[in-house]
């Protein structure tokens, strides 16, 4: 089974947003939302030692995706090839996964009221094509392929050319989108846009920490009370109740 990964060469990226446009048209992304976006870091440092880069962000299809666990119905899941998908027929739009994503890759599609995100253009992959953003990239900065294929470009870039992930000391979930850069662009991006800590929204927190234990306690207590009543009745025998 393949293990898909994407590499973006930040030295090549010119921030033209062609990938964003291609993605928006491929997936009918509603205005105001994006499955992939390009954010400039702006000029960082002291003149004349200025540096800048573009953060090309999207779903990282993490090895240990923090968005899967909070999904109540199991609509968000990780396929065998590592792609993290949303089953639209199962999503109820509760948004528990949206805040769980450290990379802000998820959004609620206002047209369907269900969660959408990048799926590495899974339907294009099935037809043997590359993701839309890769084929469109004007600077040829994006690469996509199987990380387990030791003769492939991706393998080479990740394991010999040292493409790196955007991680922080607290958030290490094994993202599968890698970044190359000859002038330290990946480090700059990681410092400017660090992944946020996965968290549950208030409803989810209350559910798992308060409501679920209380519900189990309530049902358990009723069951225990019932058992007491049943055994008392057994001990006394049925005759007593006939009066």
């Amino acid at each position: 089974m393949a293990r898909y990964a994407m590499v973006t060469d930040l030295t090549k990226c010119v921030g033209c947003q062609a990938c964003t446009a291609a993605c928006n048209s491929e997936w009918d992304v509603p205005p105001g939302h994006a499955r992939t976006h390009v954010r400039p870091t702006g000029a960082v440092g002291k003149f004349p030692d200025l540096r800048s880069a573009f953060y090309v962000a999207q779903c990282n299809h993490c090895d240990d995706p923090p968005c899967v666990k909070p999904c109540p119905s199991g609509a968000t899941f990780q396929a065998d090839n590592g792609i993290v998908k949303v089953d639209r027929n199962l999503c109820i739009g509760c948004g528990f996964c949206v805040q769980a994503c450290p990379y802000e890759a998820r959004y609620l599609n206002p047209a369907t009221q269900k969660v959408d995100k990048c799926d590495f253009c899974a339907s294009r992959l099935e037809r043997g094509r590359q993701p839309a953003c890769v084929t469109t990239c004007t600077a040829h900065a994006k690469y996509f392929g199987d990380l387990e294929d030791s003769s492939g470009d991706i393998y080479r870039m990740v394991y010999t050319r040292g493409a790196r992930r955007i991680e922080s000391g607290e958030v290490k979930v094994g993202p599968n989108v890698y970044y190359l850069g000859r002038r330290g662009e990946p480090q700059l991006v990681a410092a400017m846009f660090p992944p946020r800590l996965p968290k549950l929204p208030a409803a989810g927190e209350w559910w798992s920490k308060v409501v679920k234990p209380l519900a189990l306690a309530l049902v358990g207590a009723t069951f225990a009370g019932q058992a007491v009543a049943f055994f008392t009745q057994l001990r006394k025998g049925e005759g007593q109740f006939d009066e």
Partner: protein
């Protein structure tokens, strides 16, 4: 006027009479509700698969998911059943609004008074063996039942509302997120009450008449006297008023037709039997992908006999070779086994009704022998007709009609036409 409350009637007299407690509509709603809850609890528990929120074992989630095919199917089924539930309740609410939703009824059925609180306290102490105090008198529903009703009345709208919010994604994410939590919490509250309810109804010996009243609508007067004394007094008072001509005479409550039918002594009203038959037919389509039938099974049996008696003839014959082919079991057919079940079902129903007896149905003007001969002749004509039409009233008209088969309706029309015309000329047989 209150003489009935002072005279203590001998209990054995009370045990003879039944008092009507539940309307048929309520009995039906109760059992519909029970079935829906079973379905929704099972599918709902399996729908929560997240590690954070799951409360049933993983194998249960896997099992229910596999039975449904996909998890999306499971969700769709959960929503479909829930919407059916809401629709039925809505119909009841529309037609029962004036009957059930006014203060008097709610006070009687839901509101707890001082007696009720005492009853709850003493009931619990008695179960724990800490008290021998007599229980305070109760109305038509005891305090426990009232508490459960209150719980259900409050929680059902919550469950329905949050269910609709989730099913149709009404509102922003935050609202849907909280709807999931509220849905779960409300169900948990009802389930804890439901456990007591089911225990009391199905296990607790004292409440057995209450359980049967949910089948027949009636309770023995003795049970009402002992367990729902205030209600019994009301009933008695009304009866006295009627007897004295002070109030509209009310007919002595008799068990409804359905209640009588459930006791199996008489035949069911046509619509009820038809509804059951329809559900059976629907289940057959769902499980085996075809409908019920009869004559096709007979044909298989006959083909089987032929294949034993004259295998060469059967496998060479242009008609019988459709059924008898080398290497293919003749009897491996749905209708063959179904017919065994039909006979069993008939025997069980007849036995419950006390109808198992060797008899002959006939009109008054003919002898049994004539009837038998005509039955044989009629059977032969029917058998040939059923083969020509490729099905009989069950296999073609009933099952084919349910899938709106064009042939089925042609067949149905001609059966009824021949029946009504034949009836006129053959009236000597039956009238």
């Amino acid at each position: 006027m209150s003489s009935a409350t002072q005279v203590q009637p001998p209990l054995r007299d009370l045990s003879q009479r039944m008092i009507k407690k539940h309307h048929v509509a309520i009995i039906l709603l109760h059992w519909f509700n029970a079935i829906t809850w079973l379905i929704e609890l099972t599918t709902g528990a399996a729908l929560i698969s997240s590690e954070h929120f799951r409360f049933v074992p993983v194998w249960f989630v896997t099992m229910i998911t596999e039975v449904s095919g996909t998890r999306a199917n499971l969700l769709r089924f959960h929503i479909a059943a829930g919407l059916t539930w809401i629709t039925v309740f809505a119909v009841y609410a529309i037609f029962g609004w004036q009957t059930y939703f006014h203060q008097e009824v709610l006070e009687r059925e839901v509101a707890l008074d001082k007696d009720d609180f005492n009853w709850l306290r003493i009931r619990v102490l008695r179960i724990l063996g800490r008290s021998n105090e007599p229980l305070p008198p109760q109305g038509i529903y005891n305090a426990g039942q009232k508490m459960f009703a209150l719980m259900v009345y409050v929680m059902i709208p919550v469950i329905m509302g949050t269910g609709l919010v989730m099913a149709f994604h009404w509102g922003p994410m935050t609202l849907v997120g909280w709807a999931v939590v509220l849905h779960f919490a409300a169900v948990a509250v009802v389930v804890s009450g439901l456990m007591v309810h089911v225990y009391m109804g199905a296990v607790f010996p004292e409440e057995k008449p209450a359980f049967f009243s949910m089948l027949t609508g009636m309770v023995p007067e003795e049970f009402a006297y002992k367990h729902h004394h205030k209600w019994w007094k009301e009933v008695k008072m009304l009866e006295e008023l009627h007897a004295a001509g002070l109030a509209e005479p009310r007919p002595v409550p008799r068990p409804s037709r359905l209640a009588a039918a459930l006791r199996m002594k008489e035949h069911w009203p046509g619509y009820w039997a038809g509804f059951g038959l329809g559900l059976t037919l629907l289940a057959t389509f769902l499980i085996v992908g075809q409908g019920l039938g009869a004559s096709g099974g007979f044909t298989r049996y006959l083909a089987f006999v032929l294949s034993l008696v004259a295998p060469g003839y059967a496998s060479a014959h242009p008609y019988w070779s459709n059924y008898v082919q080398p290497g293919q079991p003749v009897l491996m057919d749905f209708l063959v086994f179904e017919l065994i079940g039909v006979a069993l079902g008939g025997v069980v129903s007849g036995w419950l009704a006390g109808h198992l007896k060797w008899t002959t149905d006939k009109g008054p003007r003919i002898s049994p022998r004539t009837r038998w001969a005509l039955a044989f002749l009629g059977g032969a004509i029917s058998g040939a007709g059923a083969r020509l039409a490729r099905g009989c009233t069950s296999g073609l008209a009933l099952s084919g009609g349910s899938v709106l088969s064009a042939g089925a309706f042609v067949f149905m029309l001609s059966v009824f036409a021949a029946g009504f015309i034949g009836a006129y000329f053959l009236r000597r047989i039956w009238l």
